[in-house]
């Protein structure tokens, strides 16, 4: 077995704590689809059936959520290694919640849901890791539900991004018309515009036509 592959797999949360023997067994017995991915490639789509676990091993990618009704989309820039939506391969609504697309070249490995269910989940360590990953996700988003959404407009916008993020740091982009954002925040268009310009002046945001880019949400929300 390739040493680098073993070491790579051991870094992934789902396999953490596994012995080298168990890892070889998995590689021999489960069909793992290793893929090289090109920049621009979409590897999962919002609304598509989530019938596989995708591990992004390497590469920069975006996760985009489209809110059709409220007319906006939110995009996060993320880096591998990252496990894509393990909490959506079971349960009532087995759909990817976002569209994932490579920004750079990258690599993934993909585990079919059936192989995961029938083989991987028999390992106590995978079972425990999986339950810990899903429960932690559940706990994190439950806490977010209780965050109050008051304060000034700037902190409302930042909290909005934070509440809807997959990861708590990195670049976030909001594609939205100014009047739609104002409506969502319950504020006037002119006040929202002022707050965004102040954020741009302080270097935490960049304003483009119908798009707001926050360079690092963690830095931007320090002290909020």
């Amino acid at each position: 077995m390739d040493l680098t592959m073993f070491e790579k797999m051991q870094q992934l949360p789902l396999f953490q704590g596994m012995t080298r023997f168990e890892m070889s067994e998995i590689i021999e017995r489960v069909k793992l689809n290793f893929c090289q991915n090109k920049a621009g490639e979409i590897f999962a789509e919002q609304g598509e059936r989530c019938d596989r676990l995708i591990y992004v091993l390497r590469g920069k990618f975006t996760a985009e959520y489209l809110h059709a009704e409220d007319k906006y989309s939110m995009t996060e820039v993320m880096d591998g290694p990252s496990l894509i939506e393990p909490y959506n391969i079971y349960g009532l609504n087995q759909e990817y919640s976002r569209t994932y697309k490579f920004v750079t070249d990258g690599s993934t490995f993909v585990i079919d849901k059936l192989a995961f269910k029938n083989f991987l989940m028999n390992y106590d360590i995978v079972k425990a890791n999986m339950l810990n990953i899903i429960c932690t996700r559940c706990q994190n988003i439950s806490k977010r539900l209780w965050l109050s959404n008051n304060g000034d407009i700037e902190s409302k916008i930042l909290k909005f991004l934070k509440i809807h993020s997959l990861q708590p740091n990195g670049e976030k982009r909001l594609k939205i018309k100014m009047e739609d954002l104002a409506r969502l925040m319950g504020e006037s268009r002119i006040n929202v515009s002022r707050a965004l310009n102040a954020m741009q002046d302080r270097g935490i945001a960049e304003l483009k036509r119908k798009e707001i880019i926050i360079f690092d949400i963690e830095k931007a929300t320090e002290g909020i």
Copy 2:
């Protein structure tokens, strides 16, 4: 084995699909603590370590969430059968998120986390049921994060309750000072007070000192 017990267990989501043989095996081998509970008894507390699965078999109980920082508490009135916070026995923050208290006499059975982990989770059906329960919870609360919180004051208040509820129907109570609620809603005290009185006039809410009772959140939010 008592037939009623077998039938009772088969109704509980975690054991659904189990054979009578498997069920007997569980009852013989796992320490299940069957309890009779008195009205007024608190059987789990917010912040307490979640190291056991509690099944409320019978009885009316309340689930109360206290938000210390924002100075309010939200209480739901619930009925057994109900499994208490299975998504908090694994993961990073293994704590009950609410305080649970019997309103009527009731009965529960309690499974120790270790027994669950080491014995019950070896049944494929329990494993699948558990993953489905936790993932469904994850999916439900993820969706709520994307609900917009705009609209008139009445729908803001109702959505607030809906977003923070464990179950989508039944009675919800909010213990809060009018000025704190106004602050949370981003509205003036007088407008919030007017909206609440209109809800009381229509018979969907009852206002008490520092407390708002919504009799049935599902009915009240019809068409929102």
